[in-house]
Amino acid sequence: MRSVVLTKGVPDFREGQVSFDEDGHLERGKTPTVMNPNDKYALRAALQTKVRNGGQVSLMSMGPPGYMEVLQEGMNDVYADDLYLLSDREMGAADTWATAMTAATGIHKLDEQPDLVFAGFKTADGETGHTGPQTGWCLDMPMITHVISLDVDEDEQVVRAKRLVAAEADEIETVEAPMPAFIVTDPEFEPTYHRASHRLKHKDLRDTTEDRADEFGEYIADGSDLDPTDWDRFTMWNHEDLNLDPDYIGLDGSPTIVSGVDPIPKAPSEREATAIDPDDDSDMEQVVEELTPYAAGD
């Protein structure tokens, strides 16, 4: 069993982490990078597969060298065996199609082709939800998206999954696909570990992987003399390693461009708000008077 998980670093959008400039534009440089929150579900799906079915899990990302920290974080989460970073100036500013072609090429270059590839749904920055399916398309793999639960049957070489179809009516489909397959997880994905042996394995893996991730940490620490690419579980590939024409990746290979970013316009003032000091009883009494008519009956 070989799995590959795709992940991406994104600005940390949690309250207090985001910086805006004077014009109200997001300052990416000042906003810390974290693993895309939705990718955690792809990691959980891969981890569930590793615990239940064993095998090797590789974690792959495309981005600047700073993403090594994101990979280290992911290694801990998914108990990854090895890490891959596709990194090159030429790959910068790629849209989803250019990213998908690059990621698919990265997967093709692996010595052993994966039985399963996992990707998360939307990234917190681009929010397109396209990169996963488009990468699957490039790899020409059967695809199941919006997966909320997963069962891998190695004997029959099939994956059975439940997927969420959110449209006018929300539905849950039960879907079966032959392996190798491309899985895009939904944020509603829930791993299941039925057996005690699974939970035990989980614990074992956690211990070994924590040590492993710590070891990588020494390579990528600030001021470290070590070269991360010397670590035997980390591989970094540039466009030449991947035989990618620079015209087809990064900004040059991207069909779309962002032509403008506007701060969400401020809503025009329509009501005159009465200022209320929460510590002033007579102030607060005005609010309470508005609310009490709707209080629950006795």
Binding site: D12, F13, R14, E15, H25, D95, W97, A104, T105, A124, D125, E127, G129, H130, W137, D140, P142, M143, H146, V165, A167, E168, E171, E176, A177, E240, N243, L244, D245, P246, I249, L251, D252, P255, T256, I257, S259, G260, V261, D262, I264, K266, S269, E270, R271, E272, A273, T274, D277, P278, M284, E285, V287, V288, E290, L291, T292, Y294, A295, A296
Partner: protein, 551 residues
Amino acid sequence: MVDIDPTELEIAELGPKIKDVDDADELREMLELEEGGEDRVPVKTLIEDRIEKLEAEDEEADASSADLDDMTVADIANLVRDVEDVSVLEDMLEREQAGQDRKTAKSQIEDRIQSIEGDDDGESADLEYVPPEEKHPDLDHPTADKQWVEGLEGGDYRDMWVYCETQHGELIDVSREMLGKARELVDQYNEDYDEAEKLVAVLIGDNVSDLTDEVAAYGADQILYHEDERLERFNHKSYTEVFVDMARAGGQMAPDGKEDVDWKAYDEPRYTVFPATNNGRDLSALVQGELDSGLASDCSGLYIENAMISNPAKTGVPGDSKEFERILHMKRPDFSGFEYSTILCIDKPFRDFHPQGASVIPGSFEIPEADEEREAEVVEHDMDLTDKWLEVEVTDYDVLDDGVDLTGHEVVVAMGRGIGRSPTEGIEIGLDLVEAFDDAAFGLSRGVITSSYSFEGHVEQYIGEDRQIGESGQVVEPDVYIAAGISGAIQHKVGMDESDTIIAINTDTDADIRDFSDYYIQGDLFEVLPKLTQAVEEGTLATAIAEASDD
């Protein structure tokens, strides 16, 4: 009297001779003669061009001899506007430097030089195509060879295609919304560009031909449908193959046997529009990828106009701007709702990025009024499905309950990012306040849903898109709306500003929501909400305070 009478000459004879005439007045006389004679348009054009050229040379002569010291900056600006020769301009610049050396005058001349040189670059943007094998000899199998890059160059693109999604044999509302918006866009487009392009609706599934009348009533000019019982439920591979086969039919990339179809005579659609539902979004990504083009997802605004682009990846020449015509501008809330981005899908030299694709958020546009009388051309699409395309099989499905309905309640309590300090507790105290009312619902701002907060298990069920209030969520109009820790982005306002009374709680002294609140409690929701809950439960604030002080 003129030396050459154009009426006596064929245009082929006149061409070489006219180059010897250096007098503009003489040329004007020739023009009059021709107008009085056969009045041949090409002959007149030839003469007019010669007049124009002579006059431009005169301007340059003026420019090269003019005494700049006697001229105002405005005169200089007028003079340089007609000069095409950079050496004349450079000479003027030197004379100005030697003379008055006015900064403004120099910048007028410099700007003109720059603009001419810029134009030259534009012309040399007859870039030469270099195959990747030559351009990158170090790469042994460049990307252009890979099976998934099969695009067009200089293709013929027309029409706006809308994918009409169905569920259980019915159109879903977003399909009607898209048809309405697309009708508007196509009509405007045809007017702006003097075209007669069509709105093409695409239906894929089982028994979808039942829906063609309805699709026509909502504005389609042409309806393409592919009907197959095996396509009753969405299937990534086959839906994509069917759509792409339709899109390529009758064009350069058409599969064998479909080079000529009687319903389409262009290479690929100019624009494609899909719903941003789970399946619609996937389909949009795969179709656009297969057609080697791009798209913007989850758009809430669309319009078509020309765009000036200076991005060298698109113009091919750094520092150059180029106008791209008929560009679909796709506006979408981005960065987790902090900003709107406008996305454009634009051709680059030697590689077209068409169709320009978009998926739209359900509810972004109005459902148009159906016109039952309206008719459309209906085309059944024929194609054999390969078994391998259907290898991902839906074995079962369940329809879920409608989810949470936040509308129709007396009170709505909504929580925003202000809960960030302690997200689980924030949800708990919000739910406590909901409990205190007779009929209240619990909602969330988009910020909470897209955040990476980790919630404890017992409140997780309250976190989800089905509780989102705002542009891409539900629109509520309760008697009382309580917004706790919500800063008040305009998308949120859309979802609640019809409420009778709006009470905002925020630590910020002047959050945007203040402008559309009736009461603005400047304080910490973690303190204010429990206080309000207690007051609602007890009936008055005074009691609450008295009890609190008893503790």
